[in-house]
Amino acid sequence: MKKCLILLMALLLFACAPLTVTASEPYRGYTYSSTDEGTLDVAAPQAYLPSAVYGSKELGVTLTSPEDLQFDKNGNLYVCDAGQNAIYVFSPDLQLIRTVTGFDNNGTPDTFSQPYGIFVTDGGELYVADFGHERVVALNADGSLLRIVTKPDSDLLNESFVFQPQKVLVDTANRLFVLSKNVNEGILQFTEQGKFLGFYGSNTVTANPIDIIWKEIMTEEQTGKLTQFVPVEYKNFSLDHKGFIYAVTAVSDVGDPIRRINLSGGDVLVRAPIDGSEKVMGDVSYPYGGVTGIVGPSSFVDITSDNLGNYYVLDDKRGRVFTYDEEGNLLFVFGALNSGQVGSFSSPSAIAYHEHRVYALDRANAEMIVFEPTEYARIMEEAMNSYLLQEYEESLELWEEIIKRNNNCDLAYYKAGYCLYRMMEYPKAMEYFKLVNAKESYSDAMVKYNQIVMDANFETYATVAAVVVAAGLIAWVVVRIIRKRKSV
């Protein structure tokens, strides 16, 4: 009987063992992989997990509707709140340094109204998109007024134009860029002094040929009833470490919702992921209908980038952050909407990358979520870094570590292949390229390999070729002689 009891208790202990409480991740880690059956979403390790949530209480300020955040070069965090009409400045350890609620406008105290966007230059100048007052305010580092930019007087703008700045940015050439509400011609571009230069990075209108033919056939009344072909408005933008501007549009069915704009206003975003899809658009497969009400492609509200050339785009439709590398390969997806767990979004508004962490604002919950990279993301970052530094052996090891953790990561195979290629281990490189169907790289490696084989064994090949040619010639001559004799 006693033995039975002990056995029972042991069994009970076993049964209880899996019940140990572990905090589960608030969202599923996934990525897209191209397979025989098309592009599928496949499981992937978690790359970033929410590590802390800062609300009004934690930060010691009143947040009601935080709209934009930015780190300056000293690591100070600027958060602008459209509900409180204030810009909060925090030290790197998130202690409040000062609150900017107004400025001295040539002797009269002035305030902001619904500031939706801010930008801090390296010199500490603060640019505020003062939405409600229809102006952009630039303040010096000491808080004194530097300049006010109001509605530009230009032939390019029609009478009814309303200047409602939502986002601001100053590039390396000190040009001021403004995104104004309901402007779909592009980004408003100003000189340092605030003179309007024109539109920048204009969205092109996409109309398919059939629509154009219909437009030719239909009467004016009919075309009037059609939805008009208008360019899509930019939602947000940010400066990358090389001085290019990343811009996002909220509507994704434009084909290229994410753009990288160069000095002359052209789109130079590289869309060459190794799966050959040429797509950089957030979620690749998504429901077109359903009960959740969340249908259609991703809708982006903000973008940020790191020094490795990776960029992070925030999708407010599903509360996800998509991370891409410079070539347009999808690296990570993280974040969730209304999952009920701490660290999920409700209405995400802005995102910033700083020192390996991703900071995101949520306007409805009035909080800031900090995402900490997991070991997986750290290894990936390390691998990319050592690849850029041309430390291929080290990089190869790290990429192979990534493959161990996520054998769906096409990029890891590809990069590992390239490390081997650089290390002149062509047959191994070819194996990796073959696994991810990278035909061009495979071919390059093959050419190099053939050259080596050729160089090493040239004499053997030459001898064999000479022997074959000679044997052929002799055989031909012999056959001819025999035929001649026969005919004779």
Partner: protein, 201 residues
Amino acid sequence: MKQALNILRHPIDGVWDMKREQTGRYRDGFILILLTILAVIFNRQMRAFVFNNQYNVPLEIIKEVAIVVLPVFLFVLANYAVTTLLDGKGTFKEIFLVTCHSLMPLIIFFVVTPILSHLLSLNELVYLTIIDAFGYAWMLLMLYLGIKEIHEYSASKMVSTLVLTVIGAAIIVFIVLLFFSLLQELGSFVYSLYREFSMRL
């Protein structure tokens, strides 16, 4: 076999000899079709990774068989239908045999190019494309000359019959599809009728 090689080397005379001396056999045609199927599969499976778009796609024998048999069958049927109306001298058997014999260049090229593809890199893709195109061109030329010969057609009449043959093939496909969809309708009708009765009675 000898006859096949003869036709390959001298398409016009070879076909003419076959027609005159009545040496054509159905068996030869079927062997050639079988060889073509094998060559198509060889080409698909053995082509170097760099030039092979179906490298990761699993092989389906039925698909490969269909890709050879259906066009041949369709062409023979359509051509026979058209040429009987346009006083062609060729019989069904002859049309079939000429079509099968004109597959010979494909057999050769589908064996040679996969081997060659292992020696080339992606930069030399154009050469492989040219070689492939040459194989197809040769096949079409043999088909044209052979069919022209057995029907004893002039060049202009030959071209117009070929166009009509293509149209005829399209019509056959259409009718077959129509037939099957009607059959499906009929099937579902009978089934619903059966359900109706079984539930009421």
